[in-house]
């Protein structure tokens, strides 16, 4: 499974409480300080549930979570890894 952009955006809006009008697909979420570490863990839990793979310690790189595009790409890779 991968993550639909629409599902992710809705999650960011409802669960993370972000104002999505300020955020495009390349907006830096964590390195810019828009999102705190609490929300980061919430996001990781969401990715595991939606994309159907378990995060491992080498996945814990900021780049994987730092924008909508990066999250979707990372979820695709992870889902492919899980399918192997």
């Amino acid at each position: 499974m991968s993550i639909e952009r629409e599902t992710l955006v809705e999650f960011m809006e409802v669960d993370m409480g972000l104002d999505m009008s300020d955020i495009d697909d390349d907006t830096k979420l964590f390195s810019s300080g828009i999102v705190d570490s609490f929300s980061l863990v919430t996001l990781m839990t969401f990715i595991e549930g939606e994309a159907g793979f378990r995060l491992i310690s080498s996945d814990m790189i900021l780049d994987n979570f730092d924008s909508i595009n990066n999250i979707i790409a990372f979820a695709e890779q992870g889902a492919a890894r899980a399918a192997e």
Partner: protein
């Protein structure tokens, strides 16, 4: 002599001891010396008095860590008032609860929160903004020197409680912790823990009373912490497992920056899980590690000697000099080594009570069962934590007697979260459980029976949670069920709910 009359007098003596130009607080380009902080505090005291504040009044300070907040706390102390600390992340309802619970006459907060509908005078931190009029109630009862601070914390049930600590306990704890880990005036703390939590408050006291300069990160989270470490070269990092987990996880640039100035890392809140402990040692191979255990109600209960951190990472050590710890059996007698029971804290550190809540105070602050006969019994703190002592007299914590949870190192009352969720009218039933999670401790998980449309209910609940709960208490995971499991008495079967939520968490991310 360690025991001064009050926090302000003690701070004044620190200024004289470390020197006026010694840095007190450092944030970005700004360094505030002890003399400058003292001057800001006296200005704050003057503003509090001008707004009608009198000695003995309680003054709620609702803010994130800042120079202005530090000055306001000291200013309240200088004016003989009792500072009441509320975390910036707490929702408005918590700040109002604090004002009501302690009968505060003043609330100081940042401009973005100044529209708070609290029934007292509202002052802006550091600026002239003021709203409301002082309506003097009955004469204030507390002598200002009895109550040094009030910090709000969650129990296992009900709304957060205001923990009153005495000046003697704060000064004792601050100095004994400093001695135990060998803090020096040429150390530099970097503090990412809110001062509104007891652990953060303790570190602010380390600056006020021990004279150790404190660096405030300019941004939140692990990245802000890394920036502060790289730029200001701190020597001591106080942490909780969730902060450490993020810092060493690969989600921050800690491996790319020069963090060699750090000589000591301190942990409290809960045990650092083994994988994070290993990562921490990999990032900081030479660092001294201080493992601790304490409650807001005891300041600091236990500390493990630095030399033992690597060989006994599961232990939290022994009581500081002046305090004592014991493990009690169900019948109230003292347990033998290795035997589990409730941990009690005796001697110095035991809080004065929860402000305005005699009933919940008496439930945990009880006559010391191990005190000698023939003397009035002093109070001991019944922690509700289950633990055991090893053969070397070091405490190990295993869990709780009640349902209290720990998320991001902070206590969460599942009962309070359930109450806030029920109050939305969007659920018929709710059970809150804590699923063990490597990074956050307990992952707050809500199992609900929604009322009406499931999707609309979930959306409403999540939005409401942001408005009524601090971030660490908000459910991270929501499960919808048709009904909650109940035991034969008709009560919610929490062990079953937890087992279900844990199984779902384990299945998450696993195919099939």
């Amino acid at each position: 002599m360690f025991y001064f009359a009050d926090i302000w007098t003690a701070f004044d003596q620190t200024v004289a001891r470390v020197g006026r130009d010694h840095p007190a607080l450092i944030r970005g380009d700004v360094t505030v010396s002890f003399a400058a902080l003292r001057a800001l505090a006296l200005e704050a005291a003057e503003r509090l008095r001008a707004a009608g504040g009198a000695a003995g009044d309680r003054c709620v300070i609702w803010s994130e860590n800042s120079v202005e907040m530090a000055a306001a706390i000291l200013g309240a102390a200088a004016a003989g008032m009792v500072p009441v600390l509320v975390n910036a992340e707490a929702p408005q309802s918590h700040a109002i609860h604090a004002v009501t619970q302690v009968g505060a006459t003043l609330l100081l907060t940042t401009e973005d929160k100044a529209d708070v509908a609290a029934d007292c005078v509202v002052l802006g931190l550091g600026s002239g903004l003021a709203r409301g009029r002082m309506a003097r109630g009955p004469a204030q009862t507390p002598a200002p020197r009895d109550a040094a601070s009030i910090v709000f914390t969650s129990g296992s049930t009900g709304l957060p409680k205001g923990v009153v600590q005495s000046p003697a306990n704060l000064m004792w704890g601050c100095h004994e912790v400093g001695r135990a880990v060998g803090l020096r005036a040429d150390d530099r703390l970097v503090v990412a823990i809110p001062w509104a939590f007891d652990y953060g408050w303790g570190h602010l006291l380390t600056t006020f009373l021990y004279g150790v300069p404190q660096i405030l990160p300019e941004r939140k989270g692990g990245i802000g912490l890394c920036e502060a470490i790289a730029r200001h070269r701190p020597t001591v990092l106080p942490s909780v497992p969730a902060v450490m987990a993020e810092l060493v996880s690969g989600l921050t640039p800690i491996r790319d920056i020069d963090a060699s100035s750090l000589r000591l890392v301190m942990n409290t809140g809960s045990k650092i899980p083994a994988p994070q402990f290993a990562q921490m040692l990999e990032v900081f191979p030479e660092i001294a590690i201080s493992l601790n255990y304490g409650l807001t109600e005891t300041y600091r209960s236990a500390t493990l000697p630095l030399a033992l951190a690597r060989s006994k990472p599961a232990a939290v050590g022994a009581a500081l000099p002046g305090a004592a710890l014991a493990v009690l059996r169900a019948d109230g007698t003292e347990a033998s080594a290795g035997e589990k029971g409730e941990v009690i804290h005796r001697g110095m550190g035991v809080f004065l009570g929860y402000w305005g809540d005699g009933e919940r105070t008496l439930a945990v602050r009880r006559p010391d069962p191990l005190a000698p006969d023939h003397l009035p019994r002093p109070a001991a703190m019944f922690t509700g934590d289950i633990g055991w002592m090893d053969d070397e007299g070091h405490l190990h914590i295993e869990g709780r007697r009640d349902r209290q949870l720990k998320s991001f190192g902070t206590r969460v009352s599942p009962d309070e979260v359930e109450g806030l969720i029920l109050a939305t009218g969007l659920v018929d039933e709710v059970a809150i459980v804590g699923v063990p999670h490597e990074m956050v401790g307990h992952q707050i998980t809500a199992v609900i029976v929604p009322r009406g449309d499931e999707k609309a209910a979930l959306r409403g609940l999540k939005i409401s949670a942001r408005e009524t709960m601090s971030n660490f208490m908000r459910p991270m995971v929501w499960h919808v069920v048709e009904r909650l499991p109940r035991n034969p008495n008709g009560k919610v079967d929490y062990p079953k709910v937890l087992a279900m939520a844990t199984a779902l968490a384990e299945a998450r991310g696993r195919p099939g």
